[in-house]
Amino acid sequence: MKARIKVTLKNGVLDPQGKAIEGALGALGFSGVESVRQGKFIEVELREQNREKAHAALDEMCRKLLANTVIENYAIELDEK
């Protein structure tokens, strides 16, 4: 089963990367960019076929390793099927 995990910074947490990208887009002449936030996108391929079990395992992976829950939120998406 394939899963996609989005890890994003919590609201209010400083995002120096996003800020730098915002500045760079401006310098490249893109106007009208109001804000940029950068996160992570992690694709995981699991042997597990049961959706619920897969979700539970992914959730634990996020909490234990993939996301830093002090400053980040995460969202798990499982492949259709």
Partner: protein, 738 residues
């Protein structure tokens, strides 16, 4: 938005970390109930972290002056004259609690904060060091904290561009719930271009510089003074994120601005950001301050006065500028892409006024915020003396060589290469001795002058005997500097302890300060800056008393420096100093025999310390020694093994006739060094030692690929090196920072 006119309940007061009698003091001072913003300001100014209310009485006993001291404690960092119109500016600071909650960002912002303290005074940072203490390796959080802290320290310093050249790493169960991250930074400035925080002149603009203000770390300063308990998780959203890129820009912009002559006073925003910096600048200058928060560059919308006054967003500065130069100043900041805003002015009425949306949110007597902070003479009990262990009660190991290998692979004794290879220790091109030696050495400009840096403390000694432990921490620094050939100049301290409201903990604190003070006086080694971190406790259990000392020394000529590595075969190894086989509180007793906290801490004879150090230093400068290493944890055998591993060359030791071999070799008597020199120079050298009244005995020869320890079975260098280098990378192999 948080309202300002809320009723101040006892719960709200308690949440701000203020005790009922402290709140009463506030009511008496201002004659009315404070607004919420005012309560926040008081809580920031009066917490332990900013007010030093439990420690002030004792800090005053430390010697802080000396021929070379330009500025002692009280400013952002200490300033010491190094001749030729140059000064070294340095300080150490803790970021313990934030690092436990979020190791990477906590450590990173700790490094950011200390670098800012140094360049706020006009100095370009030239060296960073860090003293790290973690829980026992088997504790489930330790690996994660080690990985995060090291990546955070490195990540910030590497990007900022300062060489990180030394420090300490220890593991102990007492740090399981409270890791210690103590960051040291030093910078170089011209003595006539040093900047202070004292505001001068009425009606001058107060300028905000750097990154925007967000809701980071609100209550961070209060948090740093509160004990942890099981609801720590709840406190998480207060973490700050470090942005070394902005800090580097801030450094360049500040230095350019200072060179332009526009800066009258400057203060960085550290703990309790805008509050502490604005109050300090005004109060020091005998001036009032008026802030208009509507002008503060904000990252988030709808921030209240309360939040803005307590935000700990990083990479920010406050300055008083010469109004005639405001335009030039603004241009410099815009060149570096940083925010610049006039957010207030100095006044002549000694009030601290804060405006938001045209409303007065706070109006307080500025001097009283600092001067009237509570000060406590906390009750304390002296730490009871431990019983001495007799040498006869300490068994010898079966196999001396194997025991040495085991010892070199202990968490507290193994090589720290895994740590320092993650730190850029070469940037700026002046690193003459990097991490791994006794003290690190950095050349100044194009030389020949150089400075040496070291951080030291032995917490188990401090626990057993705070006074001796305090002395030992200072003495070991002094020794490490002398061992590279540097003249010790001055120290900074970072005093990490448990809850000072407990008399036993306060007793540790008082004892350590007494010991530190005594050693500093005896060694002419003044304290020029420092930091206190109390309440390092979890569920009622305090950390080992850990008064980390950071020290700086001067080498007139960088080419006259000594290193630990053996240089050639058939050289003579000489032991300097008295050896009694002191095994109390030794690594051998604690970690090989598992007898934790047994025996007395070794005594530091400060007169002997001074004599031996001066002798070794003068011999280094005369060029008579080929290698030098001080003897500390693990005694003669460990020091010898370190010299051998560094030089890739073995040694053979003779057997002492007055002490059992294991007591002689693993004992931790103080004030000692191992040195090497060509055999033909030996007689003269011993003669000079005798003249100087310095105990010196020849204990062996260099050569070969193994260590032969007296009558013990020889052990190969390769085996020792593998053991020494292997532990930390193996331990950390599973830890990944995503």
């Amino acid at each position: 938005m948080i309202r300002n006119d809320v009723t101040i309940t006892p719960e709200l007061v308690a949440e701000h970390g203020l005790k009922p009698d402290e709140y009463q003091r506030i009511l008496d001072l201002i004659g009315r109930e404070p607004t919420l913003t005012e309560l926040g300001i008081f809580s920031a100014m009066w917490n332990e972290h900013c007010s030093y209310k439990s420690s002030k009485k004792w800090l005053r006993t430390l010697p802080t002056t000396g021929d070379r001291v330009i500025c002692g404690p009280g400013e952002n960092a200490g300033v010491v004259d190094i001749g030729d119109g140059q000064a070294i500016i340095f300080k150490m600071e803790s970021h313990n609690h934030p690092s436990y909650i979020e190791p990477h960002q906590g450590a990173a912002t700790g490094v950011g904060g200390i670098l800012r303290d140094v360049f706020t005074m006009g100095a370009r940072p030239i060296a960073a060091l860090n003293a790290l203490r973690f829980g026992e390796p088997s504790h489930p959080r330790t690996q994660h904290i080690v990985a995060g802290v090291v990546a955070g320290v490195g990540g910030y310093g590497n990007s900022f561009g300062v060489p990180t050249i030394g420090g300490e790493v220890n593991f102990d169960p007492s740090y399981n719930g409270n890791c210690l991250v103590n960051a040291f930074a030093a910078g170089l400035a011209d003595t006539d271009k040093i900047f202070y925080s004292e505001a001068k002149g009425v009606g001058l603009p107060l300028v905000y510089l750097g990154s925007k203000t967000g809701r980071d770390g609100i209550h961070g300063a209060t948090m740093a003074s509160a004990e942890f308990d099981h609801d720590t998780e709840e406190k998480r959203p207060t973490v700050q994120i470090g942005d070394p890129f902005s800090e580097k820009l801030l450094l360049e912009a500040c230095l350019e601005l200072m060179a332009s002559g526009a800066v009258i006073a400057i203060q960085d925003m550290g703990a309790a950001g805008l509050t502490c910096s604005a109050v300090e600048m005004g109060a020091k200058g005998g001036l009032g301050v008026e802030l208009n928060l509507d002008m503060v560059p904000c990252r988030e919308t709808g921030m209240s006065a309360y939040e803005m006054m307590l935000s700990e967003s990083q990479e920010r500065m406050l300055m008083v500028l010469d109004p005639k130069r405001e335009k030039d100043a603004e241009a410099i900041f815009h060149k570096w892409g940083l925010d610049f805003a006039v957010i207030g002015k100095t006044t002549d009425d000694l009030r601290f006024r804060v405006m938001r949306h045209g409303e007065l949110m706070a109006d307080l007597p500025i001097k009283d915020l600092g001067d009237q902070a509570p000060e406590y003479d906390r009750p304390w009990i002296a730490t009871p003396k431990r019983n001495a262990v007799a040498i006869g009660d300490v068994p010898a190991p079966n196999d001396l060589g194997e025991t040495l290998a085991t010892m070199l692979a202990l968490p507290d004794m193994c090589s720290r290469r895994w740590v320092w290879e993650q730190y850029d220790h070469l940037i700026q091109g002046n690193t003459a001795i990097g991490p791994g030696g006794d003290a690190a050495v950095i050349r100044i400009g194009e030389g020949p002058k150089a400075l040496a840096f070291t951080l030291d403390v032995t917490p188990r000694y401090c626990a057993a005997d705070p006074v001796e432990g305090g002395k030992q921490a200072v003495a070991e620094c002094w020794r490490n500097l002398s061992a590279v050939g540097a003249e010790p100049l001055a120290i900074t301290d970072n005093l990490n302890f448990g809850n000072p409201e407990k008399p036993e903990i306060m007793g540790q604190f008082v004892g350590c300060i007494q010991g530190i003070g005594e050693a500093c006086r005896a060694l002419d080694f003044p304290v020029v800056s420092g930091n206190v971190s109390l309440y390092n406790e979890t569920n009622g259990k305090g950390i080992l008393p850990t008064p980390a000392i950071g020290a700086v020394g001067l080498l007139p000529d960088v080419s006259q420096r000594a290193t630990v590595a053996f240089k050639a075969a058939d050289e003579t190894i000489v032991l300097i100093g008295e050896t009694t086989g002191h095994l109390g509180q030794s690594i051998y007793l604690r970690d090989i025999l598992g007898r934790r906290d047994e025996g007395t801490a070794p005594v530091v004879d400060l007169a002997a310390e001074r004599l031996h150090g001066n002798f070794v230093r003068s011999e280094i400068r005369a060029g008579s020694l080929t290698a030098v290493h001080d003897i500390s944890d693990g005694g003669i055998f460990v020091a010898l093994a370190e010299m051998a591993m560094a030089g890739g060359m073995g040694a053979t030791l003779s057997t002492p006739d007055d002490l059992p071999l294991h007591a002689w070799g693993f004992g931790e008597d103080q004030g000692r060094y191992l040195v090497t020199l060509p055999e033909k120079a030996l007689a003269h050298f011993l003669g000079r030692a005798e003249m100087a009244n310095v105990p010196a005995i020849c204990i062996g020869q260099t050569g070969g690929k193994q260590l032969t320890l007296g009558a013990g079975t020889p052990i190969s260098l390769e085996r020792l090196t593998q053991a020494h280098e292997g532990w930390l990378p193996n331990y950390m192999a599973q830890a990944v920072e995503v």
